[in-house]
């Protein structure tokens, strides 16, 4: 199904591309939300990701799963935005509006998830990005270094810092 949609999107079919968007929007938005810590910025980045996808989809050769390829594209879009603008948005939106983080799928630990999401959103930018990429998304420190432009050692230090801050926040 996805392969067919991708092939049609590569041929310029906007209807297929819309269906691809609806299939993957939740995954991309969750990533953008956690990386930016800001609900408004996450919406903007999600749109940026799919606009970029529209431009790049022809380059997808099927050498990995489409979802993995899109995920990598999304990380690049968000990190490039940070590098380009040097923007450091305050993360008040998510901190004040935890409902925006509430998953739309059933989950047995929903309350804890929301607390954790809020705590992640309140982390300092560098610590949050490394934590999300390493602990949530499963990237290695080498990959994080190349994605974010920081040294591997810095990535490790940020991860340590993020985990410590999260434990402190969640214990309060």
């Amino acid at each position: 199904m996805t392969d067919d949609l991708v092939a049609r999107a590569q041929a310029g079919d906007q209807t297929a591309f819309r269906d691809l968007y609806h299939q993957h929007a939740g995954r991309v938005y969750a990533l953008c939300l956690r990386l930016t810590g800001d609900a408004y910025a996450a919406e903007e980045r999600t749109q940026d990701v799919f606009v970029r996808l529209w431009e790049k989809v022809r380059l997808f050769r099927g050498e990995s799963a489409f979802s993995s390829w899109l995920h990598r594209l999304a990380v690049n879009v968000v990190m490039n935005e940070h590098r380009t603008t040097g923007r450091r948005e305050r993360r008040v939106a998510t901190a004040e509006n935890p409902e925006s983080l509430e998953p739309h799928v059933g989950h047995s630990t929903e309350g804890l998830s929301i607390d954790l999401e809020r705590a992640i959103a309140e982390l300092p930018d560098g610590a949050r990005e490394v934590f999300v990429l390493y602990d949530v998304e499963g990237y290695g420190h080498g990959e994080i270094a190349s994605l974010t432009g920081i040294a591997e050692g810095t990535s490790k230090a940020q991860l340590f810092r993020a985990r410590r801050l999260l434990r402190e926040k969640l214990e309060r």
Binding site: H22, E44, F50, T85, R90, L116, R167
Partner: protein, 328 residues
């Protein structure tokens, strides 16, 4: 919570979170302008590069958009009528006609009411730079934030929020008035700046910027004399008129005048100011005449404090404009 518990909690995070609104229309709008047509590829490459450059330049102003809602009538957001709440994006214009009004949320730090006959553009929407351009008309701004986060650009200069509420009106050329109703605003051009506190106002003019601020209850002849000095090259003659008409309540005007008159006139301005509202301890005539900034700031604090008391206690208590104490 230990490390293991944290890792378990992370594993429980949902992989997917649906956006709070449908983002597809915005995406469709953007990609609709760039249908992929292979035979035009080499034509579109330079266009795409130009678009990327524009995106980078726009991106520097921030990603964002502010909420906007109509208060009356149908303001125009871009070229479309704003019938319900919408989003004012960087670069967007909002325009009201004679019967419409709108309310803009300034990020998360305040709001701006756009009165009838006004045209504003969102210039930047970053956490450290909330910036509107007021092309013409009137806005009422209320901001609750640390100083210098909210800016309004006009043809005459830039109003810089120092934690305040104010009304700013201007015509398309930059002739207008800034009236501060809370906190303090700085109106700045490349050449000069004016500090306008609660209870004061200042006229603005193109190519000149802000004149000398004056209090709300300043007598008309005094305001006229200031305008002559500011905008008609009044010089020594209008300076003398201002000094002769000044009251203790007009100390904020003399404080600004001190810094704008010819150095040969500073002594006369300082002496009149000191007679009307004595300087605080530590401020000397010599320091003031060379425009020593700490001395001027110290004097300003005293003037500001007294004006604040006079303004907020108006109708409740009578305040001595020379000392700021209650008159019994």
């Amino acid at each position: 919570m230990n490390e293991r518990e944290l890792q378990d909690a992370v594993k429980g995070l949902p992989k997917s979170i649906e956006p709070p609104r449908d983002l597809w229309p915005g995406i469709q709008n953007r990609i609709g302008r760039q249908w992929w047509r292979p035979r035009w590829y080499w034509v579109t490459v330079p266009l795409a590069a130009a678009a990327a450059l524009v995106a980078v330049l726009v991106g520097r102003s921030g990603p964002a958009a502010w909420d906007v809602a109509p208060l009356a009538g149908r303001p125009l957001l871009g070229t479309k009528p704003l019938v319900a709440s919408g989003r004012l994006r960087v670069g967007d214009w909002l325009q009201t006609d004679d019967s419409s009004r709108a309310l803009i949320a300034v990020g998360k730090i305040g709001q701006v009411e756009v009165r009838p006959g006004t045209r504003v553009q969102l210039i930047a929407a970053r956490a450290d730079d909330h910036r509107l351009a007021l092309a013409r008309g009137t806005i009422d701004a209320k901001v609750d934030a640390i100083p210098r986060l909210f800016f309004v650009e006009t043809a005459a200069g830039t109003a810089i929020d120092l934690g305040c509420a104010y009304t700013l009106e201007t015509d398309s050329l930059g002739n207008g008035l800034l009236h501060v109703t809370g906190g303090e605003v700085e109106f700045q051009t490349a050449e000069r700046s004016s500090r306008v506190p609660l209870g004061a106002m200042v006229q603005i003019r193109p190519a000149i910027g802000a004149g000398i601020p004056y209090v709300e209850d300043a007598p008309e002849p005094f305001v006229h004399a200031l305008a002559t000095f500011d905008f008609k090259n009044g010089g020594a003659r209008s300076t003398r008129t201002v000094l002769a008409l000044a009251r203790a309540q007009d100390a904020i005007s003399l404080w600004h005048l001190l810094q704008r008159v010819d150095p040969s006139l500073r002594g006369a301005v300082y002496d009149r100011l000191a007679a009307l509202l004595p300087p605080p301890a530590g401020v000397t005539r010599a320091a003031a005449l060379v425009l020593d900034q700490p001395a001027l700031d110290s004097y300003w604090q005293k003037i500001h404090r007294i004006l604040f008391r006079r303004t907020v206690l108006r109708g409740v208590r009578e305040i001595d404009p020379k000392t700021g104490t209650t008159i019994h």
